[in-house]
Amino acid sequence: MRTMFFTQAVDDALAQAMADDPRIILFGEDIPLLRRNLLVRFGPRRVRGTPISESAFLGAGVAAAMAGLCPVVEMYMVDFLGVCMDALLNHAAKVEAFSGGKWTARVVVRAPCGGGYGDGGQHEPSLWGWLAHIPGLTVLVPSTPADAGGLMLAALQHNGPVIFLEHKLLSETWLEFLGSGARRTVQYDVPAEGAKGAVPQKWEPVPIGKAVLRRAGGDVTIVSVGVGVHRTLEAAEALEAEGISAGVLDLRTISPLDKTAVCEAVAQTGRLLVVDEDYEGFGLSGELSAVVLEAGISCKYARVCTQTTIPYARHLEDQILPNKQRINASVRQLMQ
């Protein structure tokens, strides 16, 4: 077994795929430096820098995929998809439907997401629910290095557009780049298990659309994703001491949702708590409640999400992002 950091694992899986498939190319802003280790192995024809022209290069990535390449298009942050959403919303997501199922865009959009390092409300949102809302887009949010690499491989093999989100608190490079800048004077609550971990000797794809049970528990099912999974696991441990047995389901894929896994777990416990770092309204947390209701499961339900624009101030941010205290309080309420 090897161990790797989170982003190192993604890049390693990407490198394995690039060595096997010459159609995979990589581009985005600052990519020659950010992915320098890939650049010196695969050369400047396959690892390219772009101008700050997201609508042009993301749109081009989609069309290049339609014409046979397999581009990995990097966004500096998921927030900046705001300036080029058209390429995903009206094009990548719809090619397959419009062509009567005859044509798809095999493009991977890779973007850092998430908060917890004091970078303010245009740089810290998660936005996976916003993306998953659109039929035709696959949205992946890994929470460990092993899943990150395996899901990247799966994304590259998937016959359609995939958004691959990398949480910045888990990513050794993004957190240093945007958060600490090599300062030793700042601390972040980085989940150790998510930031570094065992990875396979040779990467195999982790199946898209399959959740994984991180912790078994009979009283309540907590469904989460990304950093939320780690916050939840921490909370579950504290709850154990209070005699509450909480199960933790890591979705890993937002769209398509693993409805079976969610329903199975909730049917057993009769209580569902969603811990979602994304915005609360009209998103993943509400979707999960619909999933269990549609399946005819009756359960108690609560959610811990982000309700507002993420504040810049660290102490305010800590309160509005899902944290252990809020999770524990919600679980206790569900148990009443």
Partner: protein, 342 residues
């Protein structure tokens, strides 16, 4: 009218000292996240901002601190904001990339190019509500390639709006040299959209003042937008703690972290032929070593120092002015730090 170098220098110095203090707070861990300073671009900001008056608006990028300070926003409010204090300019909600002052009609954004539509909207509103008022957009060379900025320039031209588009060109967008990703000439690009373009040395505050003076007069009198292109350098690189700058300052600490994985990857079987790999390596090395021969290291490019050299002809007055500015900044700092939330 002609520029008053004394007051321009005082503003630039104030901004420089203020941002140096911010840098220290950031290094001490009292400011979180990224920190983009405007040190090096003070002449561009001062030359333009000193000509703004009530009703004029500013659309700012991720380096908006200097412009707000020079426009008159209380430095204590800005410091409180950066420290995440509820008494800050934006209640601790914004941080340095999202500074807003309704009082001065100034809005910042961390989204590159967003200054374009914002300035156009402010100018549109001015046409109806404040005839004679103008809007300024400050942005970088990298932003010139953002669609919404290009579209905004066209819109301002088509609607003959009172906008001053100010491109602070440091040649870089984070770690990318803009010339490697930019087609054509930026002034020609503006002219192609029907906007007059003026080139000015961004290190020469009087020059910036003069060129922007006629552009602003033009906008006020209903003759439409102007594009101002000014070169500058950012002494701290893109943001504080940028690895490319760290390498120059502490190569022994930084180099192994880069070199070891790079070499391993370069030698890894599977992938491109040697020629391609070497081309990749050349690109990386060029980027890594670029700061070594970077104009950022040359103090001749410091606009504050350039102005000071001229004013040295009256050393007594200069000393007085500098003492005054230093006192102002240190007292702002002292009162801001009194109640830091722990």
């Amino acid at each position: 009218m002609s520029p008053d170098l004394w007051s321009l220098y005082a503003l630039m110095l104030k901004s420089r000292l203020f941002e140096e203090a911010i840098a220290q707070l950031w290094h001490d861990g009292l400011i979180s996240g990224e920190m983009h300073l405007g040190t090096g671009e003070e002449a561009i900001i001062a030359g333009v901002v000193t000509q703004l008056r009530e009703g004029d608006a500013m659309a700012l990028d991720h380096r908006g601190t200097a412009a707000l300070l020079m426009r008159g926003v209380d430095p204590v409010l800005i410091l409180h904001e950066l420290l995440g204090n509820p008494d800050g300019l934006c209640g601790g909600m914004g941080g340095h990339m999202h500074l807003f002052s309704k009082e001065y009609l100034a809005a910042s954004s961390g989204i590159v190019g967003a200054e374009g539509p914002t300035a156009v909207g402010f100018a549109l509103s001015a046409q109806y509500l404040h005839p004679g008022a103008i809007a300024v957009a400050f942005f970088g060379d990298g932003a010139m390639n953002q669609g919404m900025l290009m579209e905004s320039m066209n819109l301002a031209s088509a609607w003959n709006l009172p906008v001053l588009f100010v491109c602070k060109d440091d040649g870089w967008a984070i770690t990318t040299q803009s010339k490697s990703v930019t087609g054509g000439d930026l002034n020609e690009r503006a002219r192609g959209l029907g906007i007059p373009a003026a080139e000015v040395d961004g290190c020469d505050v009087s020059g910036v003042w003069e060129v922007s003076h006629s552009a602003i007069e033009r906008a006020r009198s209903g003759q439409g937008p102007t594009f101002l292109h000014a070169r500058c350098v950012h002494f701290e690189g893109h943001f504080l703690g940028l690895q490319l700058i760290r390498i120059v300052r502490d190569p022994l600490r930084e180099m192994p972290e880069i070199a070891v994985p790079l070499t391993q990857s370069f030698l890894r079987p599977g992938g491109a032929a040697l020629r391609e790999r070497l081309a990749g390596l050349k690109t990386v090395l060029a980027a890594v070593f670029s700061p070594l021969c970077d104009p950022r290291r040359d103090s001749a490019n410091d606009p504050v120092r350039s102005a000071r050299t001229i004013l040295q002809s009256d050393p007594v007055r200069l000393q007085e002015l500098e003492d005054q500015v230093e006192k102002e900044i240190s007292s702002a700092l002292a009162s801001a730090l009194v109640e830091v939330p722990s």
